[in-house]
Amino acid sequence: MKEERFEISQDEPEYPESLKELEDAPQKLYVIGDIGLLKSLCVSIIGSRKSTPYGEAAAEFCAEVAVDHKLTVVSGAAIGCDLAAGLKTLECGGRSIAVLGSGADVVYPSQARKFLERLKRGEGLVISEQPWGHKPLRWTFPKRNRIIAALSRALIVVEAGFKSGTSSTAVAAFDLGREVYAVPGSIFAKSSQGCNQIISEGAGIIVDKLSLDVAFSQLYESFCMRREGEGSQLNQADPIIRALLSSPCDLESLQEILKMSSVVELMTMMSAYEIDGTVVKLRDGRYSLSSSAYNSSLQK
């Protein structure tokens, strides 16, 4: 399918009503893809670019529930949580809108190339207020964050560090009177500080699948069409898994938590978990549960 490009100005009927609530609503929108999605029910799922498997797992989990409720997932197509949410949406057969900081025809970031192409070919929509060919600049990203906040009736923050662009999106959503939800994290994890902060400022907490189901049903008056999930059970009795469930750890801290004297034994155990896909080694040297392990821990 060929890409379809549109330019929509404020007075045209396709221009989404929700954006007009913004004080500085964009004069013109540049869009590529399935333009009908602008009128659909949307939920925004965003998170940090420096994501951990925990954040990605949360993004995937929220995206999956959103697709079950036939909602369109709005995101920023940034690497990390945004991309995880977008890809999971398409994987589950849902539709996604990517709001870019660059021009809608510019591919940025390069890791999202395939994802953006799929959206442009009809599986979703790419949208920007910047004209065609506009380069991604530092100041364009905070601006597009307010569009992400405005487009949907609800915003879910899956993971955010302390100083993060994600917080500015959340503030914009609060100001517009949108519902804001956040996925809580360990209070010791730097990568979750932003999320916990948003919660303390009044955001709803996502506790489990059911709480998200209820929230979506009330907000969007939607019904959930649940598909049966599969997945293996996580052995939560294992002290290593318990330690990692709270936050990612490096070998030294695991050694202390488990009071193990033999470093060899611990390394052997971690490798075994890594090989069967339960944990992944982050690039900062810490071990974390993999996103599939997190998701299977949710299934009771």
Partner: protein, 491 residues
């Protein structure tokens, strides 16, 4: 007799060249002319020799003195010919008589007062004279001892000592062991110590990643303390290179392995050797020892590229239009680097400020040309403060060294027993020496399938697991060994 021949030698790059010093005194205008491609230092010898001869109570013969350094097509360097020329003149003018002058190799510099001084590379001259079955006649520093067993080295303090019985230099007595740096000064870091122990036991090249102040350099400096002692042959090889460069080599003769840590601004010639004549570089100085490259990512790409040959073959071959030289360079590579541009990636209490792209770029730079020559990668974190304070006992070098020693002897025994002649590729050799049982075989298949390791990384995991099994003195690699080796994978 108005003519004399004496033997001397000079160092040409890394080789020693035997030189015949011919002296001829003819009638004519008084003066000394030196022929046979001498360098400036040798020209200047004329004034030193004149003063030294007179200071020692001899007379400078009247007439024209011609000195020929043969073979004449080779350029001669250095001040080591002073003594040979002076003795040649004294012999030719019949002021002294030395029986069996052909059996002496004469190397030494003269002072104006007639004192004989040693020159750079005495150990190399000792080796050379032993090979040539000659007696080395030279000066010696105060307290200097013979380094090469079986070499006959006679010492002159003054030029005039030649007339009294020559005293032989006695062999160096091994001194009480110097207090070297010990691993028990590093608290915590159990994981790093384990990794270094494996690297030492299997001679695996290793890369440490850790933030500034995590203790990378401290660990590296102690690395040579857990390596097995140098054999006598190895010690002489390494000491010879150090001696020619004019560097300290006493500890090497005692069996301590050389440890070289070149700065990252090093030039290519200084690293692998070069110049004219070709001189040895840092990799040859690290021969039989450790080459530590701190801040690996800061070394230029081209410089690192040069190391690949040395890591593969254990030698460096340098070709110039005038000469070809093969230098020894069998070293263990230990590299260290920050994990990212800001250096805080592994620290939990400090945030890493690098962007995703910066991290990617840094990782690519780190991989560079050497990553496929590195077997072990491990992370180092700053030791937590309570460990620094509370830990009372930390693994010492002696404990680790005995583990390494055990593993090495086990490996030697195992390799003697094994027949790997039918294995032609590196993969076959690695697989064959591992002797997997069924459970380990299954795990290996799973590991290869799940972890998306490249073939090369997988072979490295195999080789490292073999060494870990050696540390446990197991003749077959068990699943646990394989799992531990997986921790040090290079990706």
């Amino acid at each position: 007799m108005r003519q004399s021949n004496v033997y001397s030698a000079c160092i040409n790059g890394t080789n020693i060249q035997k030189v015949i010093v011919e002296v001829d005194i003819t009638r004519g205008i008084p003066g000394i002319s030196i022929v046979g491609m001498p360098d400036t230092a040798i020209y200047e010898a004329r004034s030193r020799i004149r003063s030294a001869i007179q200071a020692c109570g001899y007379t400078m013969p009247r007439g024209h003195i011609v000195i020929n350094l043969a073979p004449s097509h080779i350029r001669k360097r250095g001040s080591g010919f002073d003594l040979a020329i002076a003795l040649g003149i004294l012999l030719a003018s019949e002021q002294i008589i030395i029986p069996d002058i052909e059996s002496y190799l004469i190397v030494g510099e003269l002072s104006l007062s007639g004192q004989v001084r040693p020159v750079q590379g005495m150990l190399a001259y000792e080796l050379f004279s032993k090979e040539e079955r000659m007696t080395l006649l030279s000066g010696a520093k105060a307290g200097e001892a013979l380094s090469v067993k079986g070499c006959d080295r006679r010492v002159l303090r003054w030029l005039s000592d030649i007339e009294s019985p020559l005293c032989a230099l006695s062999i160096r007595l091994s001194k009480a062991k110097r207090t070297e740096k010990n691993f028990n000064e590093v608290y915590g870091q159990d994981f790093a110590k384990r990794a270094l122990c494996i690297a030492a036991a299997g001679r695996h090249s290793a890369l440490m990643l850790g933030s500034a102040g995590a203790g990378k350099t401290m660990l590296a400096e102690r690395f040579s303390s857990i390596l097995p002692k140098l054999s006598e042959k190895e010690a002489l090889e390494s000491a010879r290179i150090h001696s020619i460069k004019g560097l300290e080599f006493e500890s090497i003769l005692e069996g301590e392995r050389p440890f070289r840590s070149p700065h990252h601004s090093i030039s290519k010639a200084a690293l692998i050797g070069g110049g004219y004549p070709i001189r040895a570089g840092e990799v040859s100085l690290a021969h039989n020892g450790v080459l530590f490259m701190d801040e690996l990512s800061e070394f230029s790409h081209d410089t690192l590229q040069l190391l690949r040959q040395a890591l593969d073959s254990g030698t460096i071959s340098l070709s110039r239009s005038k000469e070809q030289v093969v230098l020894p360079a069998k070293f263990l590579l230990l590299a260290a680097s920050n994990p990212c541009d800001c250096g805080n990636l592994y620290e939990q209490d400090k945030a890493c400020t690098c962007t995703d792209n910066q991290l990617k770029r840094y990782a690519a730079k780190l991989k560079g040309p050497l990553i496929d020559r590195i077997d072990i990668v491990f992370h180092i974190k700053r030791a937590s403060s309570h460990k620094l304070i509370a830990e009372t006992k930390s693994q010492s070098s002696e404990e680790l060294k005995s583990q390494v020693f055990k593993a090495c002897s086990f490996k030697k025994w195992r390799e003697e027993k094994e027949d790997v002649t039918c294995a032609h590729t590196e993969r076959d050799r690695a697989l064959l020496s591992c002797k997997f049982d069924r459970s380990a075989q299954k795990l290996l298949e799973k590991l290869a399938e799940q972890s998306a390791l490249s073939a090369r990384s997988l072979i490295k995991v195999l080789k490292v697991s073999r060494t870990i099994a050696d540390l446990d003195e197991e003749s077959s690699v068990k699943p646990d060994h394989l799992l531990e080796a997986f921790n040090y994978k290079v990706v």
